[in-house]
Symmetry: C2
Subunit: 534 residues, 2 copies
Amino acid sequence: MHETTTDPRTPRLRSWWGWGYADAHPDDTECVAMGALLPGTLARPLPVPRVAGLSVGRPAVTPPPALAHLVTADPGARAAHAMGKAYRDVARALRGRPGRIPDLVARPAGDQDVADLLDWAGGHDVAVIPFGGGSSVVGGVEYRGDDRRAVLSLDLTAMDRVLEIDTGSRSARIQAGALGPVLEDQLRPHGLTLRHFPQSFEFSTLGGWLATRAGGHYATGHTHIDDFVQSLRVVTPAGTSASWRLPASGAGPSPDRLFLGSEGTLGVITEAWMRLRERPRHKASASVAFTGFRRALDAVRAVAQSDLAPANCRLLDPGEAALSGASHDGSAVLVLGFESATAPVDSRLASAVELARAHGGRAEAPSADRDAPADAAVTAWRSAFLRMPYLRDGLARMGAVVETFETAATWDALPALVDAVRTEVGAAARKATGHDALVNCRLTHVYPDGAAPYFTVLVAGRPGDEVAVWDDIKAVASDVLHRHRATITHHHAVGRDHRPAYDLQRPEPFALALRAVKNALDPHGILNPGVLIG
Amino acid sequence: MHETTTDPRTPRLRSWWGWGYADAHPDDTECVAMGALLPGTLARPLPVPRVAGLSVGRPAVTPPPALAHLVTADPGARAAHAMGKAYRDVARALRGRPGRIPDLVARPAGDQDVADLLDWAGGHDVAVIPFGGGSSVVGGVEYRGDDRRAVLSLDLTAMDRVLEIDTGSRSARIQAGALGPVLEDQLRPHGLTLRHFPQSFEFSTLGGWLATRAGGHYATGHTHIDDFVQSLRVVTPAGTSASWRLPASGAGPSPDRLFLGSEGTLGVITEAWMRLRERPRHKASASVAFTGFRRALDAVRAVAQSDLAPANCRLLDPGEAALSGASHDGSAVLVLGFESATAPVDSRLASAVELARAHGGRAEAPSADRDAPADAAVTAWRSAFLRMPYLRDGLARMGAVVETFETAATWDALPALVDAVRTEVGAAARKATGHDALVNCRLTHVYPDGAAPYFTVLVAGRPGDEVAVWDDIKAVASDVLHRHRATITHHHAVGRDHRPAYDLQRPEPFALALRAVKNALDPHGILNPGVLIG
């Protein structure tokens, strides 16, 4: 159900200011209904913002004739490339104050185009913002630097082909601009899949996943895209880096691991050999309810420390479970899913449910199903998961402030961390708005040594000051994470919004190293300035 | 059986010139018997070299009084820190031509000592060679630079404590100087284990494993030590880098992954939080025989691409199987082992054996056993595995040249690679010596997308010219790997012996980046000069 087939003959209009497809946004009536659930929001939704209402201005720079065919100054394209899809971005668009609109949008067709564009930008002090699919929720694809500098948004979605498939080694060479459905469509006829399904799957690219170390489909084991990389091709201002295609290597520090997570600051990832999977033939899922989040945490830890390796192991706290329809009796809900291409998974599911029961869980009988989960809580949660960003934009139109942030910490640190986020972030939201906030938590990925909690904060904003409210909440959230030594991001990336916290988390000698690498590979400092370093 | 408990009350003498314990070396009679198996070797073994026979010389440099207690100029200590344990090192010692003997050996007791020693060395242009346990087989722990420079070998084995254990998150903070048995002894009372058992387990340190990205116990899944790292503490000349202890993070490029594989060139790893396991309660193993290596390769690939995740999945070619006693009828042998702390593994073993049978394998009935493998081929192979480096030194005393090298490649590249190594490296060995060589192959680690073959080359040398013969063989072996796009090392590291091939393999922009990092963190270029960069 994550896999939406794209049909180029009937393209759907993408929203320039909000999540996903314009026609999937809640209408005014739905917005009002949602707003009614959150005391203090507006009586009527803010109008949908229009590109025509923006002062886009004329581009401050003109590309040379040889590159002109790769570049557009169309206002719609420029507006759609001005920001990512964070709540903060949506709120700014709704209030008519978007981020800096790029002067130009470039759509290279190949590596040489990318290299030529970087050469030109380096010689003209043009900031280059690799855009990926533009789904950044951390301010990763906008320009916040000096106003006098020209800005080029680099959109790789024209480079979206699967170039080679090696079925024996189950891997493929894929261009970095391929959106999730675009690459899966090309793999499907071969019985293969990357099985990387972030919430942004439809609207994010392979290159974006790699540059931000995206978290994917698997709740355990290989949780990040990093582990599926055989090799990378990266065009840097100092030349093209092409690592060898290898199942593993111990030859020096991993070249790929330097570019994974570099967020467009060191080079532009143009293609990768990726490890694939056979499509799963066996699936089974179940949900387990718990009275109280703490007991549920112990159950999840037991599952994470077993050999069972569920593909899905998502723990929803009572608020999250209620919001997604997975539970309405105040229970926390653990959603378990197993899958395999080679063997039935029912006994693994049964063992996991048994473990959860031994820790106080109440389970429905597990159900196995090839194509769809039969468990109602699982179904409810999955639908809500993909619909959530659209609902967020509807709430934003009602003047609500929505902040989602995620982290990871070791098991010993988790209970106090979750409590502190609820208490301190909730208090900060109340202080900033005068309204009570909802603070929900779910675990998205689990490890033998810890887990990745994901928090959602919902509160009615101060009309017109939504961005300031969000900034206040974000600052407190980041501070709580820092004090509990929880990472500023498990899979959303650093971008510009997490930069202050990242600077505190990163060891100082590593910052020295990263600055040195930046100077070596991007001597003119054109690539995504303000992100990670500089 | 990998786990040898060390008893500090009865220390065994370590060999200064050869592998492991001096009393475990084959005696002259055994050497002669081994030599008889390899036509063209010497009639009598070369004498065991003695430190007294070396011209160790006076140290060219004196540490300041404040550091004097950390440093020794004892000739025995200096000789034992002159080289690693490659065949090349043993051959040089046997011929009385060891590498440069360091001026001093330092044994710091803590991070501040390490920092003080680096400060002093930086101010006096002293090369610092982090020694680990000294088991490098790639020239990683010797000095091959300018004769006028003073050399300090940095031995961290006095920093060998497990400092903290978090049983809930199954992890421990461990000092980098702990040898394998030393750290396992400290974890055992807590029911935990790192389960990292390289062939060098008894004689290598945690810090050495981390600095070289060692390959460990597991044949599938988490094969390298990298995956067990929660955080690293690294003393660099530019300050101490301490990453946060996290189960996972997506905040920028991984700081730890820059130091993993840095082979002592960027800093000295002094401690790490490591992920641990419960000790396995269930084990089962079996062997499967194959007629022909190619069919066996297909069987191993099928196992690697299943969900079965064997802990051991080692394929021995007929020569390797004969040498280790696992088979004497010309069969290739697949050794399979499963283990778990939580559930019986018999059905996984049965499934794996069934897969192997479906690809033409002939299996004994699998046998489950808690404490020891009952399968004769498995037992034979394991004993031979740990004994092998000692036998290599015995063969070296008989004038044989022994080269072992390992790599990794995708499945599509493997058959041609293995054939080319047999043909071309065998021809090179014959050309260099006039004798026929044995070229054996085993797979040590397997992946869904490829595998790591390990090659052993045995040939009678040219008396007195063994090192030159080895260099010739190594050059051809490295060239074959390069032409087949197989990594120069899967887990032995780069050191100085693999440097030319590494330079060809590493993408040029990554070399630029690494040089920039080196200059930033080690501005005086004191750390392990000649390795990886510079």
